[in-house]
Symmetry: C2
Subunit: 244 residues, 2 copies
């Protein structure tokens, strides 16, 4: 029996944003591996084994998935959004470096609708021009690097999508991020806080850097920062395609 490891993105929340190929992979899986709340989004059926784990255990989860696939199981590793954006795909390849013949495994990555694009769609087109995606979690990198990237991106007038802006363990970092952005971009710059997009708990608020407060974000929030041209039209926010 030949095993298979498929790393999939479930989109940000709504089943209406799960691609058909991801649904098909889930329908054929023997095992689903993922962070508890994401693993719970795989449709349950008799015989499907769900391996749910905690948030900080990406590498252990990846090793377990590889071992299951190597033993002949059809394993689907689930991420919210897209698996290649601050999610499980990189962890799986990190773990794959530990095995002797990585190409002996049947591995595929199936993309998904990443949270920043779902959030952008709900409010208009704030990422309609060049943009950067930055993970604000400093578990895996020094805050000095986050700061250097924020300043580089703001200095070159990129729009920004900020993932994982805030957690209980990092209550002050996002305040520093907002202060850096206010200094680099000015107070009038538009900011969108998009929480739990496409779920029943969705909230979306548009404000400015001058008015933005750290407590407007939590770990379920994506923060979008416009570039210098980003503007409102009616209830929407968008970034024009052209730059001066």
């Amino acid at each position: 029996m030949t095993g298979r490891l498929t790393v999939v993105g479930l989109g940000p929340g709504s089943p209406d944003q799960i691609t058909p190929e991801v649904s098909a992979a889930l329908a054929e899986a023997t095992d689903v591996v993922g962070y508890g709340p994401y693993a719970a989004r795989a449709p349950a059926r008799p015989g499907l084994v769900v391996h749910a784990s905690d948030n900080r255990e990406e590498l252990g989860r990846a090793r377990r998935a590889i071992a299951l696939a190597a033993s002949g199981r059809r394993v689907v590793v689930v991420s919210s959004g897209d698996p290649g954006v601050f999610a499980m795909a990189a962890a799986v390849f990190e773990a794959l470096e530990e095995i002797p013949d990585p190409d002996s495994l049947d591995i595929a990555v199936l993309p998904g609708v990443t949270a920043m694009l779902a959030a952008a769609a709900r409010i208009g087109a704030p990422l309609g021009h060049d943009f950067c995606a930055i993970n604000l979690s400093d578990n895996l990198k020094p805050f000095a690097l986050v700061e250097a990237r924020l300043r580089a991106a703001a200095g070159a007038d990129f729009a920004l999508a900020l993932y994982n802006p805030r957690s209980a363990a990092r209550s002050d970092g996002f305040g520093r991020v907002l202060a850096i952005l206010r200094e680099s971009c000015g107070g009038e710059r538009l900011v969108v806080f998009a929480r739990a997009v496409t779920t029943p708990e969705e909230t979306i608020a548009t404000t400015t850097l001058a008015e933005a407060r750290p407590e407007m974000a939590d770990m379920r929030t994506i923060v979008l920062i416009g570039n210098s041209q980003t503007r409102r039209v009616g209830r929407f926010v968008y970034t024009p395609r052209s730059a001066p």
Copy 2:
């Protein structure tokens, strides 16, 4: 009769990457508006009016879609990939600024799998850490701004996704882009050329900046540039989640 304007992303090519909500919007449409090859991807059915137009006519297309929706039609504007990434959503909001009461129209944007994430998935997880997306087309911005953004992104060690690297009208610009990146990142940096991802014409090639040549890309190619940590494992390319 109340019209509706829905701006959707069809994903990069395969029907298996079109989300259910986008398929539902297409099934309910009276009119589909888009660049010819993308409009042709909407499933044909009796009564569906397809308004296909040329590549450079985004704003005219957006105005036509708004006029149709205002007249009571259920209009779907199609983009390849995600509509908010270098695609039709920003053009629709630009056109929306021209009408007196933008909030009188029923407008929604439905996200899709954008080309850079589909391309990344096919080769592993090259965008697994902070990254920037840059549209290399200089139709709507000066090349000096493209260069400034490339240098800022490379200087802060972002991975990069480059859209629209090359066209017949811009045969030399991409060579300059590669030269700038070689200067900023060094010749060993990994580069992925992903063409026509998820279509029968798909080709994916991994090389280095030292070996990369402008003619490896055309307008159907997404170019992914790794950061300083990006590496190969087996047949895959990925960027680790952590940074030094």
